[in-house]
């Protein structure tokens, strides 16, 4: 199953979607109110416990079975981090995660956990409480323990340098294996079969009914960075398993980022947090701003993009309108999610990293990636690009590294060739820019040249979104052909954006321009008089209420 057909088909129809707790749902509002209320009355350790349980409930709302996967990933990285740094594990550091993992396996896989919850609540249960996987679970637990113990004894006997390297590799292999199985397995099999068939060898694909667990790419990358940072001696591992579990599972950023680094988030989990009035106000503003972007704009414009990309013979005007709509949709959807995540975290006194910084004001591809999905691009830069050698070599060497990074960045977004093509496209644009900058040098911008660069690079970004949103390579080819030939002219056949989106885009444009003119400072609005801030906030709330009448779509980045 292509992820494009899966959970987060942008604004997609209601078919095949998983029912989760969206930030823009009534369920989340109630959930947040309860969690916040409890948080304010609990002591620090109680807060952590409660946040961990809340995060697991939040994640389990999608599918309880996948929670086991996260707990497995958490346990393995907790152990490898400690062995990597210290060369041994204390008894409680072994037993607590082991007991937790075993309990998770039995409850979440061995039982039908949803049915179990129904049964505990006294509701009628349709199927059996014990799942057919229980025997495998009961067999798997001692088997896993034996493999882990053997691995542990091998690792601790290694010299320190080799042990550190081996532990990091174990962490990366486990995390990437989870990703490979759940996200890329069918894609690789399909691609292999296609390649074999193309070379004259007959082969058929055997498909496995694998569902992509929501947020998998985000939390595996977050966990992986923990082990790599310890290996690089940039951080020390934590002794407390449940603090680490909360670092991995912290619900505001769990399913769609921003991807946090251990050195910023883990210390916030390990020591008491202070909630200031200023943070709370900023948090509330971010939530309002994020909901405005998501509900009023992204959901309101989704139909325009969806219909355009669903047409077999779209006109030039329809393709341009659909691609523009998608550019607005994906920005407002994803940055809106990030804003809400940061806002919610701030209510708990937790600072998450900024994930978007006015990306459509970028004047170059390099700047775009410093402004778009910052947590992923810095992750790829720190752990992939720099590990490959970065720019410490010839221009060709740098370009190779840029291309590899972007190809894998594209593949990170989904198991489909159009994502790889999108990565290749951006890799090519980055390399071309790099070469031009080497040859021509960096010119100083005037207002006119700066604006021209923003608009010019905007067109390049737009074509990238066409590659990203296309449903097949065939559509990429046919849409590109239409763009070049102008077939159909300016006729636009796709749906008009909703009223909330039409007004919302104008308001957002004014807001972003004001921010850009004030030097990009996100809190620029604080300098404005209270009635003006109040008017902007009121308009956002009103437009969000208007947007609630739009068909709500899953956040696009949930699928990644």
């Amino acid at each position: 199953m292509s992820p494009l057909d899966n959970v987060g088909r942008p604004g997609g129809a209601d078919r095949g979607t998983q029912a989760g707790m969206l930030f823009n749902s009534l369920e989340f509002l109630v959930f947040l109110a309860v969690v916040y209320g409890l948080y304010r009355v609990l002591p620090f350790r109680g807060q952590n416990w409660m946040l961990l349980v809340a995060s697991y409930v939040f994640y389990g709302w999608w599918d309880w079975r996948f929670l086991f996967l996260m707990i497995l990933s958490t346990s393995v990285d907790f152990w490898t981090g400690l062995v990597l740094d210290r060369g041994h594990l204390a008894r409680r550091q072994v037993l607590i995660p082991a007991a937790f993992l075993s309990a998770a396996a039995i409850l979440l896989i061995g039982f039908d956990f949803s049915a179990l919850l129904h049964w505990l609540a006294g509701k009628p249960v349709a199927g059996p409480l014990i799942s057919s996987a229980m025997p495998q679970v009961l067999l798997g637990i001692p088997l896993f323990a034996a493999v882990a113990a053997t691995g542990y004894h091998i690792l601790v006997r290694l010299p320190a340098d080799r042990r550190r390297l081996a532990c990091m590799i174990v962490s990366i292999v486990v995390q990437l294996s989870i990703l490979a199985v759940f996200k890329y397995f069918n894609f690789f099999i399909d691609s292999l079969v296609t390649a074999l068939n193309a070379s004259g060898i007959e082969a058929t694909a055997r498909h496995f009914d694998i569902v992509l667990p929501v947020g998998l790419s985000f939390y595996t990358f977050q966990s992986m960075s923990y082990a790599i940072d310890i290996y690089r001696r940039e951080i020390k591992p934590t002794d407390r398993f449940f603090d680490f579990a909360l670092f991995v599972a912290f619900f505001p950023q769990l399913v769609a980022g921003p991807i946090q680094r251990a050195h910023t988030l883990l210390p916030q989990m390990a020591s008491p947090r202070v909630i200031t009035f200023d943070d709370s106000m900023r948090g509330l503003f971010l939530i309002v701003f994020g909901l405005f972007k998501k509900v009023a704009i992204a959901d309101g414009i989704a139909a325009t993009a969806n219909q355009a990309f669903a047409m077999p013979n779209a006109t030039w005007g329809t393709i341009v309108a659909g691609t523009l709509a998608f550019a607005v949709q994906i920005y407002c959807d994803f940055s809106g999610y990030s804003d809400i995540a940061r806002g919610v975290a701030k209510l708990f006194g937790v600072d998450l990293m900024v994930n978007f910084n006015q990306p459509y004001f970028a004047k170059s591809p390099r700047e775009f990636w410093q402004r778009w999905h910052i947590s992923l691009s810095t992750w790829l830069s720190d752990y992939l690009y720099k590990s490959l050698g970065g720019n410490r070599g010839t221009l060709a060497f740098t370009c190779r590294n840029l291309m590899l990074t972007m190809l894998l960045g594209g593949l990170w977004h989904g198991a489909a060739w159009n994502y790889v093509l999108w990565g290749f496209y951006h890799g090519t644009v980055l390399c071309a820019h790099r070469v031009l900058r080497e040859r021509l040098g960096a010119a100083r911008d005037t207002v006119v040249s700066g604006t021209a660069k923003i608009l010019g690079f905007g067109l390049i970004t737009l074509y990238g979104w066409l590659l990203f949103r296309a449903t097949s390579l065939q559509q990429v080819l046919s849409f590109s052909h239409t763009l070049l030939t102008g077939e159909g002219g300016l006729t636009i056949n796709t749906a008009r954006p909703g009223l909330s989106a039409a007004i919302g885009v104008a308001l957002l444009a004014v807001w972003e321009l004001a921010q850009y003119r004030s030097g990009g400072e996100a809190r620029f609005y604080r300098r404005l008089p209270a009635p003006v801030i109040g008017l902007a906030a009121a308009l956002m709330v009103f437009l969000t209420l208007m947007g609630t009448s739009n068909e709500p779509a899953q956040f696009i980045y949930f699928q990644f």
């Binding site: 209601d14 078919r15 669903a310 209270a530 801030i533 906030a537 009121a538 209420l545 208007m546």
Partner: protein
């Protein structure tokens, strides 16, 4: 931000919200005259979340000439049939259903030189309304063919006897029969009122209106008191937006109850009722000496979901049918108009296809004896 300024900002936000709410009510006020059928699009947008009762009261007057035209449509009593000019040696066909079916009736009348078309319709009519209309149609005997329309996007609402309970976009006061599928066939529950006069009387009498609402609450899974009954909060634009959102959320949940990723759920009540109605219609029509035909309208984006859940009944009962997906691609937005109807060209295509379906289903005329 200093606390003082923060509180001032919150206060200003609330004040602005009240001002925007008030301004939207004044600037985009919905016309008070029920005969005004062309309200401003923005006024209509902000009015969508008004309670159904509020909208019905605004649209209704005791004098039908003074009431909104929509309040006159779709009543069983009297049942209004539109008869198009007869054709020489023609065969009369009656189509029962929603506006898509009425457009097909017009197209069939134009495209066929054999069939003269009579139609009985209501805006947004579901299949239960159409079958209720068929059963009440006193003149049905004049038609050799009876065509019953069913549409995929309104299939889940087949269990509702009142469009006011499920159609949160338009205030439609007419009612429909409620059918309940059981082991022994279908049970028909007539609605508490089925004529404009009775409706006005019920709406004007608080006790009768309360009783009617209680009946709908008992028999209609779509009935929601919060969405139907009028309150003073109807006067707030923001509240109306919230109610609209809650209505859509409720509608989605109910639609999902009948349809999942694989299509309509065969075990849902809507699908069971649809199949039971097809079987009952086929037998009743044949008993009345008519050829039963089903017109299955595939809404955009629904694929052939509708056909897949009724195909079994169509084959079992040997009912002639036209499923639009066999003629028009339900995934192609250009096949449809913005208001969800098929384009005129596609309606003509469908009419020609329907004429062929009827040709095949009609008993062959007796052959002349060989000399």
């Amino acid at each position: 931000m200093p606390k003082r300024k923060a509180f001032a900002t919150v206060a200003w936000t609330l004040l602005w919200l009240l001002a925007i709410d008030f301004a939207a009510n004044v600037l985009f006020a919905y016309p008070r005259d029920p005969r005004n059928t062309q309200p401003n699009a923005v006024a209509l947008y902000f009015d969508y979340g008004r309670s159904m009762e509020g909208r019905l009261r605004r649209a209704t007057r005791a004098d039908p000439a003074a009431a909104a035209p929509i309040t006159q449509a779709g009543w069983y009593e009297p049942l209004v049939a539109t008869r198009r000019p007869p054709k020489p040696d023609g065969v009369e066909v009656t189509i029962y259903g929603m506006s898509h079916a009425m457009r097909l009736a017009d197209a069939l009348q134009t495209e066929s030189d054999r069939y003269s078309v009579r139609s009985v319709g209501a805006p947004g009519a579901t299949m239960n309304w159409a079958y209720g209309a068929y059963l009440r149609d006193q003149d049905k005997g004049s038609s050799k063919v009876a065509i019953l329309a069913v549409m995929s996007s309104t299939l889940p609402m087949i269990v509702s006897p009142a469009p006011m309970d499920w159609n949160t976009s338009f205030a439609l006061p007419y009612t429909a029969d409620r059918f309940v599928a059981g082991d022994g066939g279908i049970e028909r529950l007539p609605p508490p009122y089925d004529s404009f006069r009775e409706y006005v009387r019920t709406l004007d009498d608080p006790a009768s209106w309360e009783r009617a609402n209680a009946w709908f609450a008992r028999h209609d899974p779509y009935y929601d008191r919060f969405l139907v009954r009028e309150t003073w909060l109807d006067n707030s634009t923001m509240f109306r937006l919230i109610r609209r959102a809650l209505a859509q959320r409720r509608d989605r949940a109910l639609r999902d109850g009948a349809r999942d990723g694989a299509g309509f759920r065969p075990d849902s009540e809507a699908v069971r009722v649809a199949n039971a109605l097809i079987a009952d219609f086929a037998r009743t029509a044949r008993a009345n000496g008519q050829v039963p035909v089903i017109y299955a309208v595939d809404s955009m984006g629904y694929g052939d979901d509708l056909y897949r859940v009724i195909a079994g009944s169509l084959q079992r009962e040997k009912v002639a049918y036209l499923s639009t997906h066999t003629v028009i691609d339900p995934q192609d937005p250009t096949a449809y108009l913005a208001d969800s109807h098929f384009t005129d060209e596609n309606d003509r295509l469908l009419a020609r296809a329907m004429a062929q379906v009827i040709d095949r289903a009609m008993p062959s005329p007796p052959r002349a004896p060989r000399p």
